[in-house]
């Protein structure tokens, strides 16, 4: 018998007989079909809306952080260079405290531009009116508070430069991505793509934050459960550490007798002219003004809980949205001013925010995520006294449990 004949006979054999219909198999299939239909009815109509909302939040949030950073930086620079007086800044319009210049420097050691002596002196001349009549102790406290106000107003200040630097890094990263898509680099093979989809996963996460009063790092864990093929719920628990430092430059007025001692100190002389407009100017002794610098570093630590609802846009990319709760663990905040200032803001101990995220599955077990977080403390308690911390967070998650 020729092979073709053999094949024909085998085919014919298969046409000769039939299997009996088994209704139990249809019942199983009907159950599967019913399950799919119900889940779709529940989720399908509103989940895309949540996805779109998260995307919009992310798209609006990132430029806002950059814009605010840039604006704060510019206003600080303008103030220091003498083109604007502090009175231009509404936060400081009510401040009667003299002779305070605050320069906020973040922990990236990128120093704010140092003002030229003559420029700064111009501003000091205006602000020195009440300098002599104010007790030194009060002045020192207010100096600190003033710095706080400036620092808080500055928000994400110096990060603008960092973002500019990051542009170059990001463009490099894009180039790397293009390279990574070429043959020879990691790609999903058939076996991986055909694996059973993960229903529940526990992941360890780590990352960095960039933003107002929030530049630092985080480590934590998250658990995810796929509710449907597309929709998942996730809970993140993380420890967040932010490292901040601030430099305060203030003008100290000392009697002429102490001039010799102060000359040997590291302080820099700005203006030697007495510009007071006190009621008894003639009785005021001749004084010497010095700019002194105080540096203070402090760290804020938070426990962060972020429940979220996610939607898988495509095979590897998903977006999510949810509330964000942060409890400060150690209160290291600089001491607030003891003088009433309506515009002075502080970082809240319990911080509530809104989070939008985008995740990309690099491999089955590794995910890269970008979060945008916006504080909503002033929305919940409309006192306006809190700093609403907003930041962009880059995270890498590694699955330790997939089922």
């Amino acid at each position: 018998m020729k092979p073709r004949e053999f094949d024909d006979l085998v085919r014919q054999k298969f046409d000769q007989d039939d299997f009996a219909y088994n209704p139990a198999n249809w019942d199983k299939l009907a159950e599967q079909l019913d399950g799919r239909g119900k889940k779709r009815n529940i989720f399908v109509w509103w989940m895309p809306l949540v996805g779109m909302a998260a995307s919009v939040a992310f798209a609006i949030g990132v430029p806002k952080v950059l814009q605010e950073s840039s604006r704060s930086y510019k206003s600080m620079y303008a103030m220091l260079s003498g083109s604007n007086t502090p009175a231009d800044n509404t936060d400081h319009a009510q401040i009667s405290e003299p002779a305070v210049v605050a320069v906020v420097q973040h922990n990236d050691r990128r120093a704010a531009p140092t003002p030229a002596p003559e420029d700064v002196s111009h501003w000091f001349n205006i602000r020195l009116d009440n300098a002599i009549t104010t007790p030194k102790s009060t002045r020192a406290k207010k100096t600190q508070a003033d710095v706080n106000a400036l620092w808080m107003a500055a928000g994400t200040q110096v990060q603008a430069e960092r973002y500019m630097d990051n542009d170059a890094e990001q463009s490099n990263a894009k180039k790397k991505k293009v390279v990574a898509a070429k043959a020879g680099y990691y790609t999903f093979n058939d076996k991986e793509t055909e694996r059973k989809p993960v229903k529940t996963a526990i992941m360890l996460s780590g990352g960095v934050n960039y933003g107002g009063a929030s530049t630092g790092y985080l480590v934590g864990a998250s658990a995810r459960h796929m509710v449907t093929d597309k929709v998942y719920v996730e809970g993140d628990l993380a420890f967040l550490g932010t490292s901040n430092s601030q430099q305060t430059q203030y003008l100290e007025t000392v009697p002429q007798q102490a001039h010799a001692i102060m000359r040997n100190s590291t302080a820099r002389t700005i203006n030697a002219k007495n510009t007071t407009t006190d009621a008894k100017p003639t009785s005021t002794p001749l004084t010497q003004n010095y700019v002194k610098t105080e540096s203070e570093s402090y760290n804020l630590y938070y426990a962060q809980i972020t429940p979220s609802l996610g939607y898988k846009l495509v095979k590897r990319m998903s977006i999510g949205v949810g509330p964000d709760f942060q409890q400060m663990l150690v209160d290291n905040r600089p001491a607030p001013s003891d003088v009433e200032r309506g515009t002075l803001k502080e970082v809240p101990m319990f911080d509530i925010g809104f989070m939008g995220k985008t995740e990309y599955a690099v491999t089955r077990n590794i995910k890269a995520a970008v979060y945008y977080r916006e504080g909503i403390n002033n929305v919940i308690t409309p006192t306006g006294k809190y700093i609403d911390r907003n930041y962009v967070q880059f995270q890498v998650k590694c699955a330790i449990f997939n089922k």
């Binding site: 053999f6 085998v10 054999k13 007989d17 299997f19 199983k28 079909l33 076996k191 055909e194």
Partner: protein
């Protein structure tokens, strides 16, 4: 059983009409269970594959463009379901084998017409299910689906020579097993007498 035209069935399935879906399932149950049974290792696996295939048919029916045969489209879905199942479970281990196998010239087989005709359909199915996964898959694609060796090599990511080798191997193995089954039958009949 209510009568439906093919267009009624397609429209009903698109509307997720359970009665129409059940009707379609009943009509094609035997046809496609045979297809799945040839690729699967057991009847239990075959029934599962059949349901997976029908699930794809019902959920992806919008992809059917109404231009070709509906039955042909469904059969394609079923065969692809079977291939996906085999790729993920069995074929990977066997794919690296015989990569350099050369095409084998077809030669006459020693099996007789009588031997093949006397064997039952269920017995033949069991013999085919007993073939190695890759050999069984290539044989099914070549003999039942009408694929040529080039198409098989593209589907399964093997060389054409390997595809030839598997078909040849399948015929030889079937031939031996059919002979063995025949002998067992004769022995059994002799004992009865």
């Amino acid at each position: 059983m209510p009568t439906y035209t093919e267009q009624d069935i397609i429209a009903g399935c698109r509307k997720n009409n359970r009665a129409v879906q059940e009707h379609l399932y009943k009509v094609y149950y035997c046809v496609f269970l045979k297809v799945c049974a040839r690729y699967a290792k057991s009847m239990q696996d075959a029934e599962q594959l059949l349901n997976d295939g029908f699930l794809k048919v019902f959920t992806q029916i919008d992809k059917f463009s109404n231009t070709g045969s509906f039955e042909g489209w469904m059969k394609k879905v079923m065969v692809n379901t079977c291939l996906d199942y085999l790729r993920s479970n069995y074929l990977k281990e066997e794919m690296t084998m015989h990569v350099n196998a050369m095409p084998i010239e077809e030669s006459n087989l020693s099996v007789s017409n009588e031997g093949l005709e006397s064997i039952e359909f269920r017995e033949l199915l069991t013999i085919i299910q007993g073939l190695p996964s890759m050999t069984r898959t290539v044989f099914n694609l070549f003999v039942f689906e009408g694929f040529n060796h080039k198409e098989i090599s593209e589907q399964l990511d093997i060389s054409e020579g390997t595809s030839h080798w598997h078909v040849h191997q399948a015929r030889n193995m079937l031939q031996k097993k059919i002979k063995k089954t025949e002998q067992q039958k004769v022995t059994y009949e002799a004992k009865r007498i």
